[in-house]
Amino acid sequence: MNIQTSYIISHLSKGMRLDGRKPDEHRKIEIEIGPIEQAEGSARVKLGGTEVIAGVKLEVKEPFSDTPNEGVLMVNTELSPVASPEFELGPPRETAIELARIVDRGIRESHCINTEKLCIKVGEKVWMVMVDIQPLSHEGNLIDASGIAAIAALMTAKMVKYDEAGDKVIYEKTDESVPLDDIPVPVTFGIIDGKLIVDPTLEEEESMDGRLTITTNEAGDVCAMQKGGACSLTFELIEQAAEMSIKKGKEIRELIRQSL
């Protein structure tokens, strides 16, 4: 065990973290709505020193054959070197893919997007909602920052026009919002020395054994979970995380609402 890890663990046993937070405390969350005018919806989220921008773009595509009357959601992340010297150019690797898929799963499984309302012509044309996440600064917990940014961007996204005769999208925003029924919020816990810490920093990420992300919705139901890292955890710890994610999710949801 290196010195930093033992330092973090010894403080944690007294209920303290290196930046003065309590184990169940997030860093300061700042949400700015609509920084990207060109996008149908966008949000910039700061989670302490971690910062991401999420943008929503709409396209018209053929639906998947098994869901001919439903629009399509896609979440994509690229870990560009602008956010951290650790990130390299090139096609997304497993960290970026996992990040995008955790955010995607939370949104998809909460069914917050009413995909049937995104159908233009059954079996032929549907709206495709593309959520792209661009991290600007990585100081830990990109998952929560990305998840908050993605849902905030979606909540403010406006539909654009579609010219059926010419089969092209006219990128003029309408007053109509992207049909949204729920607000899923991911909460990520670092697992270190058998304890949970909410919203781990980069320092803590380097020392922790693993993490657990739980996404909850407005009703306090669990809509997605994902464990990461080479650690194992007990049932009690999962229980504790579920409890806390519902409480923390509620606080963050309120914060998103206030920022709109």
Partner: protein, 233 residues
């Protein structure tokens, strides 16, 4: 409440038929074939062996490299060969589900390479893959804290059900795969798709743990079948 009848006649807490066999490949250091219902997973292990390129080596431990692939013919619509976002993520969570069971510090600078091929897919491919991988690691003679077992559970029409099949995956309120070390009583994989209450989540996990304990017996039997024959205990 009416009881829910599963389309394949199973009880709610009954897994699909399980078959496990180790040592199925000639050239791998360890291998296993696991079928759970119509899902068939093959796993091969090489190593610990020298890791190249050397810059990837860890001076104080071995690394585990894991690759999950679906054979092009494994599903109704052909799977395009090559990595997908899904397979990349499953490779990662599989690796992280197995690492806690290994003593990687015993083999510095080396790699343990694990290849999982899904030969036939009908729900539960990642869990079948983990069961096969864990057996293959044991078959390769690599020391482990415990065997890693894996299964998914869900909730259909108000009933908790274990080991969802393809049709049930469409019906369930949630799909919650876990990997579990039964002797250590620890979870090494948790994912969930769906929407359920916290109480449901706990009950679904508890049911999955029961399934893992069944799988554990099958794994032990498969290992004994090969290794007791060759004069090992």
């Amino acid at each position: 409440m009416t009881t829910y009848k599963r389309n394949d006649g199973r009880k709610l807490d009954e897994t699909r038929p399980i078959k496990m066999k180790v040592g199925v490949l000639k050239h791998a250091d360890g291998s296993a074939l696991v079928s759970i219902g119509k899902t068939v997973a093959l796993a091969a292990v090489y190593g610990p062996r020298e890791l190249n390129p050397r810059h990837m080596q860890e001076s104080d431990r071995a690394i585990l490299q894991c690759n999950y692939t679906m054979a092009p013919f494994s599903t109704k619509e052909r799977v395009r060969p090559g990595p997908s976002r899904r397979s990349t993520e499953i490779s990662k969570v599989t690796r992280e589900a197995l690492e806690p069971a290994l003593f990687l510090k015993d083999f510095p600078k080396t790699t343990i390479d694990l290849y999982i091929v899904i030969l036939q897919a009908n729900a539960g491919t990642r869990t079948a893959g983990i069961n096969a991988a864990s057996l293959a690691l044991a078959d390769a003679g690599i020391q482990m804290r415990d065997l890693v077992t894996s299964i998914a559970a869900g909730k259909i029409e108000g009933h908790y059900v274990i080991d969802l099949n393809g049709e049930e995956e469409e019906l369930t309120d949630c799909d919650l795969p876990i990997a579990y070390m039964p002797r250590e009583k620890k979870f090494t994989l948790i994912q969930m798709d769906g929407k359920i209450t916290k109480e449901d989540m706990k009950n679904v996990i508890k049911l999955a743990v029961k399934g893992c304990e069944t799988l554990y017996e099958h794994q032990r039997k498969a290992l004994l079948e090969k290794w007791s024959k060759e004069g090992f205990e």
